[in-house]
């Protein structure tokens, strides 16, 4: 019985069950993003001291909901969609155990709703980290546990689909690089979820009275195996999506598959260890543990990101130059499709992730200079560069690619889609840069009132810090506006977008399959092995991409200058002679 359809525009094959799962997960992710965005507006308008919108208790409640919906629910729902796409669609195979995949999705939905209810009830304002001995309501933890179990099922469905594809020989040679990147994300996700189970199950039992005590230091170490590694799933996933986007838009091939796969292997080996930088100022943990996990292991993961950061725009440059865009250093970039939100979203995400998220991440991961900015607003600024722009904007760009291909609808308000990546990245960059400045001046993260009104121990920030936070507030509002534009375009496309398939009705946008006649392929043709690249054959393609090399050198200079500026800051606050 035929269960595949082929997209007439892209040539992608969609298994009927996998297609429905992708749609359902992507829509659930978008709902989470909507909640996160609304709550994020409350957070930024409170941190903007001139507005100071919310009272203290509501602020912490809203901050908790914003963090969990943005960093956990939105991201992981969307990543499940990517896992099913990277396995079933890219390998042209049926999905393994679709009923288990739906059961996993149901658990994730139940977990998300349960956790949000706990936060809305107001007795679980413990923020995303939920550090013990702060205690939330039992269903706060139970919701997270159910969500994690559902995601774990999704990971095993992905692995099962790889096995089916290999056994059915649906592809020649190795799995595609994008699928390999998704496998990396899946492996990191399994470690992440295991850490979550190790710490959240006893914490849940503690919340219902079965366990008397949770050690605060132990909680922090294991929780960050969940908290930070969950963001490393994002890195592997969005880097994979970058390779997909340059392949689809430019027909670009990686400059070296071997090097790119080796970089993903470095992620598998070392990326999760970077969780340790959250523990850098914790007493009781040795410097050996801190330095090995951050300054040694983490740098190998950073090396992997730098490889991807070079090879992805480099591959795009090689493809553009092959089309004749060879004038000067940057014609390949100037002539890129800047009107296409798939490209602009991807490229802004790449630049902001690398230049801001990457450089600040290394500063935060260095034990000595971490102390300058530890627990300041610098930290949220960093992870908004990596997650809110790097990952979220990449997923937004991918959505614009998938709406016609997967949902079979034309984009609604294409002019808005065109401008959305510009508005979102401009707003977020403004917010991030000014929060980085405020963090360097010592402005605390997660703090309701910079004025310390009525506090027994007060502190007076310099006036500049207030200005920086105000400008960051303007940027944050602009970023929320950009997020709203994304949701208007995506939801509008599913409801009002021109149908590209006659049966792409309302319910088909939310997971219901298209008409049976659309699925007219019993088994797609085997995915052929791509021909070897001439450059890779000879191993001498130096300066094939001079523009990218210049960008990489600019990144290096920015990094070196900023890194040593931070050592100078450290010398000024901690004078040693």
């Amino acid at each position: 019985m035929a269960q595949f359809r082929v997209c007439p525009d892209s040539g992608f094959y969609f298994d009927k069950s996998a297609e429905s799962l992708m749609k359902a997960n992507a829509v659930a992710g978008a709902v989470s993003l909507l909640i996160a965005g609304i709550l994020g507006l409350g957070v930024i308008l409170t941190r903007w001291q001139g507005v100071h919108l919310l009272p203290a208790d509501t602020f912490y409640q809203v901050l908790t909901g914003h963090g969990i919906n943005a960093l956990i629910f939105w991201i992981i729902f969307f990543e499940m969609a990517i896992l099913y796409f990277a396995s079933s669609t890219l390998l042209r195979t049926r999905i393994a155990a679709p009923r288990w995949a739906w059961a996993g999705f149901a658990l994730m939905i139940i977990g998300m709703v349960m956790n949000n209810i706990a936060v809305l009830q107001g007795n679980s304002s413990v923020m995303m980290t939920s550090y013990a001995p702060m205690q939330a309501a039992p269903h706060f933890y139970l919701g997270l546990i159910l969500f994690a179990v559902g995601a774990l099922i999704g990971c095993f469905v992905f692995l099962g689909t790889l096995v089916i594809a290999r056994d059915d020989r649906t592809y020649e040679g190795s799995i595609p690089l994008v699928t390999f990147g998704a496998l990396t994300a899946c492996i990191i996700a399994i470690f992440t979820i295991a850490c979550g189970a190790i710490i959240l199950v006893p914490t849940f039992l503690w919340s219902i009275g079965y366990i008397g005590h949770i050690d605060a230091a132990m909680y922090r170490v294991i929780w960050w195996g969940l908290g930070h590694s969950s963001q490393q799933i994002n890195v592997a996933a969005h880097v994979s999506v970058w390779y997909l986007i340059i392949g689809v838009l430019f027909n670009a091939r990686p400059m070296s598959e071997k090097v790119s796969r080796s970089a993903f292997l470095l992620y598998i080996l070392f990326l999760q260890l970077a969780s340790a930088h959250h523990i850098l100022v914790d007493p009781g943990i040795s410097s050996e543990w801190k330095v090995f996990n951050t300054s040694y292991a983490m740098y190998l993961a950073v090396l992997a990101s730098m490889i991807h950061g070079l090879t992805i725009p480099g591959s795009m440059e090689v493809a553009q130059r092959a089309k004749g865009y060879t004038k000067g250093m940057f014609e390949w970039l100037r002539k890129a499709p800047w009107d296409n939100p798939v490209f602009s979203g991807f490229f802004f995400a790449l630049i902001i992730f690398g230049f801001i998220g990457g450089i600040t991440g290394v500063v935060m991961g260095t034990e000595q200079i971490n102390i300058i900015i530890h627990n300041t607003i610098y930290v949220p600024a960093h992870f908004h560069a990596t997650v809110a722009v790097g990952t979220t904007l990449t997923f937004m760009a991918l959505t614009y690619l998938l709406i016609p291909v997967l949902f079979r609808r034309a984009l609604f308000l294409p002019w808005m889609a065109k401008w959305q990546p510009y508005v979102f990245s401009a707003g977020m960059t403004l917010m991030i840069l000014f929060q980085l400045g405020a963090g360097t001046l010592g402005v605390s993260r997660r703090h309701w009132d910079m004025d310390f009104t009525g506090a027994m121990l007060s502190f007076e920030y310099p006036g500049t810090a207030y200005t920086l936070m105000a400008v960051a507030g303007v940027g944050g509002v602009l970023g929320v506006l950009g997020g709203a534009m994304y949701l208007i375009v995506t939801v509008g496309s599913l409801l009002f977008g021109k149908k590209l398939d006659e049966s792409a009705g309302l319910f088909q946008g939310f997971g219901v399959p298209l008409a049976p006649s659309s699925y007219n392929v019993s088994q797609p043709e085997r995915l052929p092995m791509a021909p070897k690249l001439a450059v890779e054959e000879h191993g001498s393609g130096g300066f094939e991409a001079p523009g990218t090399f210049a960008l990489a050198m600019a990144l290096l200079v920015c990094f070196v200058v900023y890194y040593f500026i931070n050592w100078d800051y450290l010398a000024s606050v901690w004078p040693l002679s």
Binding site: S174, L183, T184, I190, V221, I222, L269, N293
Partner: protein, 53 residues
Amino acid sequence: MSQEDDLPRPERIPFFQRVLENPFLLLFIGIVMPTVFYVLWGVMEVATIPVAP
């Protein structure tokens, strides 16, 4: 010369490529590395902190 010698030999897959093409080996490595160096080592560090008298 036998007929078997005339057949093209299948290309030998390098060891590193075989590692990269085994998702379950990668899963094993990807779990063991952080479990040993981050979780177990970190838990030992916390567990060996002396209790205040």
